[in-house]
């Protein structure tokens, strides 16, 4: 029974997070399933319209079917990426709820980490259901993984990339110690990172130098990169490049997150108490 206490706490906290998300079953389905379905459907309609308006048969190296497959794959993977709304840390800082953790013998980040673990478990489950359902209901349209290794590589990249997003959002939330504009920052960040990740536009539609540059960022390797591996547009072995980029991002983000948090605490007023 030699579980490290921080790990035991993480497991227990994850269990609660799971309890919380499933507490309202209806809400859970609406939020997780419907959202996951809606995005790909809207994307398909939008790009059908784009192709129709252009009268084109090919854009950025993909035909309409290929583009649709790519965009579904991207939306599918995006579901696995840690969401800014998963953390309410900024709110807790403003309202003073965070104080309770400051007198407890634990790190505040452990609870955020529990959210990430819970989110990853839930969303992997949802993505699996969606993948099976999509393949059965939309044969020919739904993106099928070219190989089991490709599926595994995409999943690993997405979950590792998702951890970068957790670090990034935790860092941004900590800015609440100084500023009141955290929500604006979060929305902007979400917007920008989703652009960088190739969610809003396929990278192949962008100018070549920009697309090349984006391939050095963790957002790309969290979503578009895995999608391309999944579809066989990239070799599975590129997973190592992706993991290297993500690894570097984590080594930068992690100490940054710690410093910002520590500095924030030093100027915390504990208001709202």
């Amino acid at each position: 029974m030699a579980v490290h206490p921080q790990v035991a706490l993480l497991l227990q906290a994850t269990l609660y997070e799971l309890k919380k998300v499933t507490a309202w079953r209806m809400g859970f389905f609406v939020r997780e399933i419907a959202r996951a379905l809606l995005r790909p459907l809207l994307t398909i309609f939008m790009f059908q319209a784009v192709f129709a308006a252009q009268g084109a048969t090919e854009l950025g190296g993909r035909d309409l079917d290929g583009t649709v497959r790519y965009l579904i794959a991207v939306a599918w993977i995006e579901g696995l990426i840690f969401h800014d709304r998963m953390l309410d840390l900024a709110e807790q800082i403003f309202q003073g709820y965070v104080t309770k953790y400051l007198v407890m013998p634990m790190r505040c980040f452990t609870l955020a980490l529990a959210r990430y673990v819970q989110f990853s478990i839930t969303q992997t489950g949802v993505a699996a259901l969606l993948g099976i359902g999509g393949a059965l209901l939309l044969p020919g349209v739904w993106p099928l993984p070219v190989a089991p290794e490709a599926l595994l590589a995409a999943l690993v990249l997405a979950l590792a990339g998702s951890y970068c997003f957790l670090l990034l959002y935790f860092l941004l939330n900590s800015i609440a110690f100084w500023l009141e504009v955290v929500w604006t920052l979060l929305v902007m960040t979400r917007f920008v990172t989703m652009f960088l990740a190739g969610v809003m536009l396929p990278l192949s539609w962008m100018p070549e130098p920009l697309a090349r540059a984006l391939e050095y960022g963790f957002p790309y390797w969290s979503i578009a990169g895995p999608a391309e591996i999944l579809l066989g547009e990239r070799p599975v072995s590129d997973v190592w490049t992706g993991l290297a980029v993500i690894g570097v991002s984590i080594t930068v983000l992690e100490p940054l997150r710690r410093v910002v948090w520590k500095r924030g605490l030093a100027r915390y007023g504990g208001s709202g108490m």
């Binding site: 706490l9 309890k19 507490a23 709820y97 309770k100 007198v103 013998p105 007023g269 504990g270 709202g272």
Partner: protein, 348 residues
């Protein structure tokens, strides 16, 4: 690694668990005038103001003590608790818990500490209290058998066994506060701060909570610091009293002695008939003898401090002279106490 909460809740009696010296806390905040002009002005040149919440506190509390911390709203009670427990850093001065600087407490020191905030829940709003407690068990690393026993005992004593599985937000204020207290004592802390835990509760609940705290203090030797703006919370529970006023410790000492000296006063608040004439200053002067003081007078309301033994004759006099519609008598009012202490300071 620290021991898995094997400590019994007792620290060696007679050693300071808390010590602070010259403690000061200044909050920075911004002033903004109301309306559009204020908004614009604050945009161009934001005016930073400093609020001194603590102005030099020296304090030492020994293991096993039950200390009452009293002060009017805004006196700095919460700030003192926050600085002592390391939630916020001090601006100046030193503060130590268990021999460690408050703002840099180790996990070992933190697991001997607990705090209950009347204004902010320590438990998780969406969870049933039991779920929160299980999480606390993990955080404080309490052995399962010990935890189960303790939970059962405390829940019974606080009369909340039935509510353990109901989400916190569905409980009444009083039940919630009992849950907070339960959670705070689960890991057998050696030092517990309770910041206005009885705020907003009815008289019976307040009395019960005070009784339970006294029992825990006596039986387990846990050091307790209980803050309140209401003297009644402190009067029958604490042996030692701290009076905080505008960020300074006005009094630190034995409660019984202070009571003998000062407590035998009553605050009498009078509401006059709405259409009666303003009370004649001569009448007021006559009512205020050597031992009766006029504390406040506003349109239609007067407030006096009267020695307990003189209440009856005073009231007879009042009814003879003034058109009284309503009156209230309050025991040991805080503002009377603070005023008296200030006066003594001035004299001595």
């Amino acid at each position: 690694m620290t021991s898995r909460a094997e400590h019994s809740g007792k620290a060696p009696v007679g050693q300071p668990v808390l010590r602070c010296q010259g403690l000061q806390k200044v909050f920075q905040t911004h002033r903004r005038d109301p309306g559009m002009r204020g908004l614009l002005r604050s945009f161009v040149a934001r005016e930073t103001i400093e609020v001194p919440a603590l102005r030099g506190i020296d304090l030492s509390i020994e293991a096993g003590e039950f200390v009452g911390l009293i002060g009017a709203n805004g006196a700095g009670k919460t700030t003192l608790v926050k600085v002592l427990t390391g939630i916020v850093p001090a601006t100046q001065g030193r503060s130590e818990l268990f021999g460690e600087p408050s703002f840099e407490l180790s996990d070992a020191a933190k697991s001997r500490l607990s705090i209950v905030m009347g204004q902010r829940s320590q438990l998780w709003w969406d969870l049933a209290p039991l779920d929160s407690f299980l999480l606390l068990r993990e955080i404080y690393r309490v052995e399962k058998s010990d935890f189960d026993l303790r939970l059962e005992q405390l829940a019974r004593r606080l009369a909340v066994t039935e509510q353990l599985r109901i989400p916190l937000r569905h409980l009444s204020l009083g039940q919630r506060m009992r849950m907070e207290i339960l959670g705070a004592f689960l890991h057998r802390p050696q030092l517990v701060f309770l910041d206005e835990p009885t705020i907003g509760l009815d008289l019976v609940s307040r009395e019960e909570i005070r009784t339970i705290l006294s029992e825990i203090n006596r039986e387990q030797g846990a050091t307790i610091v209980l803050s309140s703006h209401d003297m009644e919370d402190i009067e029958n529970t604490c042996r030692r009293l701290l009076i905080l006023s505008e960020g300074r410790l006005l009094y630190d000492g034995d409660l019984v002695k202070l009571r003998e000296r000062l407590f035998e006063k009553r605050a009498i608040e009078l509401h006059l008939e709405p259409h009666a004439a303003e009370p004649d200053p001569a009448v007021l002067a006559e009512l205020c003898g050597a031992d009766v003081q006029l504390l406040r007078s506003s349109a239609g309301a007067l407030s006096f401090a009267v020695p307990a033994a003189r209440v009856q004759p005073f009231l007879a006099q009042v009814f003879a002279r003034l058109a009284v519609r309503d009156l209230a008598i309050e025991r040991t009012p805080l503002d009377v106490l603070v005023r008296e202490l200030f006066q003594r300071e001035g004299e001595g």
